[in-house]
Symmetry: C2
Subunit: 102 residues, 2 copies
């Protein structure tokens, strides 16, 4: 099922939060992303960023600063995913009202 290809990308405790953190401002350092997401470990952030890059949702740029800075930003493909995330967010809100009760 094709839907599983999408779920592979979306799934994970941090994936969507990271995409949102990058997407809102565009061009973020690992440090900034880490702060925005909050509570994520170095290992997880690093791992997820790598996967997102492989999936062509974000690009990675190394800057010649000292110490090194690495910038991430959404690709065009990554931006198309944001629409989906928005839809999911809307549905999630409705669902929460219905099930959890506000």
């Amino acid at each position: 099922m094709a839907v599983q290809d999408a779920m592979d990308v979306l799934y994970g405790k941090w994936n969507i939060a990271i995409l949102s953190a990058i997407g809102f401002y565009n061009k973020r350092s690992v440090y900034d992303i880490s702060n925005d997401v909050g509570g994520i470990s170095n290992k997880m952030l690093s791992k997820e960023l790598k996967e997102l890059e492989i999936n062509m949702l974000i690009t990675r740029t190394v800057l010649n600063t000292k110490p090194v800075t690495v910038q991430y930003q959404l690709t065009e493909h990554g931006n198309t995913l944001r629409t989906i995330i928005d839809n999911l967010t809307d549905w999630g809100k409705e669902h929460r009202v219905k099930i959890i009760g506000k």
Copy 2:
């Protein structure tokens, strides 16, 4: 994040497949769902159906047959989720073409 409320429902190896199996025909027995999904164990199917019911996405009806038959069908709320799944499926197809290459 509200999107996580949606992901809680969508996540899992079988969740979406089960919803699709029920949704296409509406009113399915456990036996039918199991056949449609394919490869799912009794334990998993049972567990997922229970969760979906708690989340008010499906309803459970016990029929007075012998042996017992149980019918599941999507609720209205469950149907709103199908739109999301369709979107995810479309995105998944694009993604597959882009990344995996058809």
